[in-house]
Subunit: 333 residues, 2 copies
């Protein structure tokens, strides 16, 4: 009696209780297939980021379409994926502290595990954890190629860490993590192209330096839903870590393509179904979904399929919506 699901498998749309998070499976499959075909055609590996869905069933669909594995952002997420049979996981993030490092090492006995680093002490502690479990952990050096988040600067700092990894008995140096998060939501095509061009140049220079020291990179990873075409055609990146394309959020859809138009190669597949709770004015209604049903870090949600229905405000379980005077306000329910 503590958790009543909004719907059961096979329920009609009308019978799904609100608020509910719903997936359009046709659009989802379109997105999964489109990206898989693109990666194959451009001869880059596809390792989708699973933090957008956190769902082993979708990860298995991605694997069936040719993905080499998935990314997770946390060890706990990687544990879920491995326990559900996804046996090649990149934790595309730093893993800090003994508790998490030992969990990561234990996981490396069950699956191929790769992780990012940007710190020497962390490399040493990771090697010790791996040794404890007699495991081998694959390691990418994270390069800050413009995001200004984690990662070391290109060239010499990368080389220093790569050498340290190669000297660590239970670590395997696998290459570079060069994701440019800051470029993903730049609206203009040219702006995104230039940002990834700069990132690519920095990665290329770093690869040259590593080659001079006889260090080869199996993986040069990066690329998000906003920029993947630039990484895929760079001749430098060989692995895409796209995640958002699966559900294709509204904000990504505002990015412009080379024709100056909104991208539409991916279709939104994730929605919050809500119902009208109150209709206090002739041009205003209140929905039964609010801040606890959706995220607002990219702004208020957009009412799907009703133009000029404007979100005025949101509370925990309410969304206040004003309708254009030419539009009828829906009835309660």
């Amino acid at each position: 009696m503590t958790n009543i699901p909004a719907a059961s498998i096979g329920d009609n749309w009308e019978n799904i209780d609100t608020p509910a998070l719903v997936v359009d499976l046709d659009n989802l499959e379109h997105n999964l297939t489109t990206m898989a075909i693109y990666a194959k055609q451009h001869n880059v590996r596809l390792r989708p980021h699973s933090k957008s869905h956190k769902c082993p069933a979708i990860a298995h669909q991605q694997m069936a379409l040719g993905a080499v594995g998935v990314c997770c952002q946390k060890v706990s997420e990687a544990q879920v994926m491995v326990s559900h049979g996804i046996l090649d996981v990149l934790v595309s993030n730093q893993v800090i502290g003994r508790t998490k490092l030992e969990r990561l090492a234990a996981l490396a006995l069950q699956a191929k595990i790769t992780v990012c680093v940007d710190d020497l002490t962390n490399i040493q502690e990771m090697n010790e954890a791996a040794k404890l479990f007699n495991a081998t952990i694959n390691v990418l050096v994270e390069v800050n190629v413009g995001s200004g988040r984690c990662g070391v600067l290109p060239q010499e700092p990368v080389l220093a860490l790569a050498k340290a990894i190669r000297q660590s008995e239970n670590l395997n140096f696998s290459g570079l993590q060069a994701y440019h998060g800051g470029a993903q939501h730049i609206r203009s095509y040219e702006g995104r192209r230039r940002a990834i061009l700069q990132a690519t140049y920095q990665v290329e220079q770093t690869l040259k330096l590593l080659t001079m020291h006889d260090i080869e990179c199996d993986v040069v990873g990066g690329g998000g839903t906003g920029t993947y075409i630039f990484e895929a055609t760079s001749g430098i990146y060989n692995e895409l870590q796209v995640g958002s394309y699966v559900f294709m959020d509204h904000d990504y859809a505002l990015n412009l393509n080379d024709q100056g138009q909104q991208n539409n190669e991916f279709k939104q597949s994730l929605f919050v179904k809500a119902a009208v709770l109150s209709k206090p004015e002739s041009n205003r209604c209140v929905l039964d979904a609010g801040l606890k049903a959706y995220a607002t870090d990219s702004g208020f949600p957009v009412v799907y399929g009703i133009e000029n229905a404007e979100v005025l405000s949101a509370a925990d379980e309410h969304t206040n919506i004003r309708f254009d005077s030419t539009l009828p306000v829906p009835n309660l329910g």
Copy 2:
């Protein structure tokens, strides 16, 4: 292997894995006790809103301190509370549609259930659902006293709905819901006082009209953590629906009291414990908690206890923090 808790009962602070949502029990108890004493001293009933905690254990603490029941914002939450022995629940919201109305009616066989209405058709459908279960549902008319969200306007519209409820065999008219959400976060004491003064006046006029029609209100409910002192001392409101005081969020703490100073009668008791994941620059670090660990509808979180540590940006699992040059950046972990 799918859910590893960040901590177990009895764990030391140091052993709580990050990111983790942690409660300071001393501060929590201080808050619960302070509000309970205030309500008793001012002779108003206390019906805390449970949407801030959604936790039956805390609801039981509130009941033990004298609360008459709790508020929930959704039927599904009310079901959880009732199934855990909280037997007087106000769903302080509209409940629309047959599925939810029938769940509400079934619940009214197990506990005293009250709900808000602002629509005539909804009253009719609610009565039918209650009749089906041979249950009685208590009903408050929600009055829009300034929030501009749900609710009907004061006076005549309230009277019309009150009459309709009284004519419904399986509904019991209990009074008014007159919560002013828009007043809660007004910074100045005088601004909040004036907003509730206006709300109180509208409620008072409505009560007079109802009395002229021999309709009595058992409940006149409202009041949030930002304004409860004004409702409690209004002589009109008799039930407080405060919720946020339990954890006392940062934004409420910015409200000023009658001395022009920040309120401190309640203490923050809910925190996200995070760890340093990366230290890429001498004055910058990245934490392992991000948009999936905290809400940002009132802005970025604040680093507790470290002044001038400024949150620059946040991503799904990262928070980018810049330190004042006079402050040392913490080490990894």
